[in-house]
Every structure is written in C-alpha cells, then in structure tokens.
C-alpha cells in the first residue's frame, strides 16, 4: 500500500466508508470475485490433504473421504464450486479485454477472444470428464 497523502488545510478530504462495495452492483460483484479466491484456496488445501492421505494408503484415504461426506463439507464444496465457476466465468469474460489478438493488421474482436476462451474451457472440461468417467 502507498504512503498517506499530505493533507492541505482548508480542503475537505472525503473518506471512503468500509461499506463502499455495497454502493453499486459492479462493486458488489467485484467483491464476490475477490471472495471466491478464499473458497478456492480452502478447497485446494483440502485437495492437498487428500493427496497426502492418499500417499498414506487406502485406509487413511478412505477415512478422509468419510470425513468429507459430512453435510457441512458437502455444503462447503457446493459453495466452493459455485464460486469457482463464477470466478472462471469472470476470468474468461475479461480475457477478451486483456488479451489483444491480431490477425495481420486487424484486431480480433474481444467478444470472439472471449467466445474462443469459453469454447476451449468447455473442450478441456469435457476431455477431463471423459478421463474421469472412463476411470
């Protein structure tokens, strides 16, 4: 973060209230996007623990899976999945804005870049799903 600014006498310096993100829908959606990372982080920690338990053998792994079947953890995973999907959708929607793709001298329309990103996401998801189902 930055240094506090030097305030000149006579001027009124407004302070942004801590509830600024409730002022408009875009701010609120931005905060949701930021919050999503907390759920994704917790999910990743659980996943790392899962891998560790897997390394300890079938019994330890089975016991861990049993723990995760508790209603609280199932609710957490549903919420985490919703946040992960929301984060991914916002990510791909912004990709068209951030990544400038040129063909020759012309810029490919951002909407096309976004559409291509979504298509790629769908293809990768389907391939992964196929591997998982084929098991």
């Amino acid at each position: 973060m930055s240094e506090p600014r030097v305030e000149r006498p006579g001027l009124y310096y407004p302070k942004l209230p801590t509830t600024w993100w409730l002022r408009n829908t875009n701010y609120f959606l931005f905060m949701l996007r930021e919050l999503s990372s907390v759920f994704i982080m917790v999910f990743l920690v659980l996943f790392l623990v899962e891998l560790y338990r897997l390394s300890q053998g079938p019994k330890a792994y089975g016991a861990y899976l049993e723990t995760l079947r508790a209603p609280g953890w199932i609710v957490f995973h549903v919420v985490a999945l919703a946040f992960a999907l929301y984060h991914s959708v916002t990510w791909f929607k912004l990709s068209g804005v951030v990544q400038v793709v040129r063909v020759g001298e012309r810029q490919v329309p951002p909407s096309l870049v976004t559409a291509a990103s979504f298509a790629l996401w769908a293809v990768v998801s389907i391939v992964l799903l196929w591997f998982m189902v084929r098991g």
């Binding site: 408009n24 875009n26 701010y27 804005v97």
Partner: protein, 249 residues
C-alpha cells in the same frame, strides 16, 4: 415554460466555515431539454450566487463539469434532468478528491500524475522539421485511437475504489494515456514511462474493479489499458529473466 419543478440536493462546503460538506435543497424549473449543469447555472444566476462549481464547454469536450449525480460520476452537461424524474437529484463533488468549495475539487494530484506518465510523443532523437512529419498508417492510428479520446474529466478516478483507498495510485486516466503513447508507432518513450507504470502504485495497484471503463463518457477503456500494461510489464520482466542480454523491448 411549464410550472413543473424538480429538486436538486446540492452539496455545499465553505472552507474555514463548515466542518464538513452538507446538502442544500434547491427547487428549479423542470425543462425537458435541461441538463444538471443548466439547473446549477439557474441556481447560481437566480437563487444563490455563492454556489461554486466548474464548467466550460457545455458539450462534453472540456471535461470540467464532472460531478456525482445520484452517486454516479457524470459530466453534468450530459446528465438530463428528465432522466432523473421525479427527483430529487443529488449533486455532489466528484468522489475520492479533496473538496475546495461546494462542488469544486482539487485537481493537483491528477495533474501531477498526468505529468509523471509523460503523455506526449517522445523520440530518442527528434528529426528536423525540414524532414517533414512522422507519418502513420490508419491501422497504426487504430491501435491507440480509443485511448486518445480521454478528456481528463476524472470521472474514472471518482469511480475507482482503489484510488479512494490508496490515493497514491497513478490511476485510470493517467495510465490509459501512458498506454496510448506506448502504443503510438511514432513514440519511443516506453522505457521512460515504465518506472511509473510498473511502480507499486502504478498498474499493479489496480485490482480490476472495472468501474472506470463503465463511467467513462468518451468510451475509453482504462481498465483494459491497465490490464494490458500489466501483461506487457510481466512479459518484459519474464524476457529480462530468460534473456538478460536484452529480451526487453
């Protein structure tokens, strides 16, 4: 002229007199072709001559009349009263800026940041005038044209919560203009702007809220300029790591 009126709740602040700004209500005639700025001019001419605010061109070019209208940063010359019926309409100074008086905010911080990004064409070596102009193709113009439409109205700073929380942030318009010159085929100042852009209070301070681009009255997309500058900066850094002998542009 009809008898219809509309109420404006205008923020007043008299330095040295008021501890903090407070709203004052004014009833003005409702005219369907009036904008908020017309209503403010009516107040100043007919009701209270002490009301202070900035304006100049009345046609969305000078960028002077930016204020918060019902909490949203707007050019008041382009905010029609009819869109806010039945009112009241809240008119406040641009958010995130220090207030000098009433609706007038201090511009110094933005002006200093604007200078810092060197928003002009920089050449390693100027060619003499006798050699003619620096020429550019329409395609080269197109790469930066939207970013050159900025009128320095600062609505994007008022919309940016990052600037509100960390006023040292170089901010949307200044970065968009730096990016505009970085993209210009005639410019050679990329390396001179880079220390400002890649500074901790430069592009990396931005968390991509995106509201700057939503409120821009000229269709500039400062959020895109900032994210693309991040991408360019990160690519440069990576190249300098992989090819320390000179992978940077």
């Amino acid at each position: 002229m009809s008898d219809a009126t509309i109420t404006l709740e205008v923020t007043r602040y008299r330095p040295g007199h008021d501890r903090e700004p407070h709203p004052q209500s004014f009833e003005v005639p409702f005219q369907k072709d009036w904008v908020v700025l017309d209503a403010l001019n009516h107040i100043k001419d007919r009701i209270d001559g002490t009301l202070s605010y900035r304006w100049s061109c009345r046609m969305g070019v000078c960028g002077s009349c930016g204020m918060m209208v019902n909490g949203v940063p707007k050019l008041t010359c382009a905010a029609f009263l009819r869109d806010y019926r039945p009112g009241p309409i809240r008119v406040e100074p641009l958010a995130n800026f220090p207030v000098i008086r009433d609706l007038v905010i201090a511009l110094d911080d933005f002006m200093e940041k604007l200078r810092r990004v060197k928003p002009w064409i920089i050449r390693a070596e100027e060619k003499p005038v006798s050699e003619g102009e620096y020429r550019q193709t329409p395609a080269q113009l197109e790469t930066y044209k939207q970013f050159s439409m900025c009128i320095n109205c600062m609505l994007c700073y008022a919309a940016c919560p990052v600037y509100g929380l960390a006023p040292a942030f170089v901010g949307p318009a200044a970065i968009a203009l730096a990016y505009r010159y970085n993209l210009d085929s005639r410019d050679e100042g990329y390396r001179l702007r880079e220390p400002v852009m890649s500074d901790a209070v430069g592009v990396w301070e931005c968390t991509f809220v995106g509201e700057c681009s939503v409120v821009c009255p000229k269709g500039v997309d400062p959020a895109a300029a900032i994210q693309r500058s991040k991408l360019a900066g990160a690519t440069d850094w990576l190249l300098s790591m992989v090819m320390p002998w000179g992978g940077r542009r």
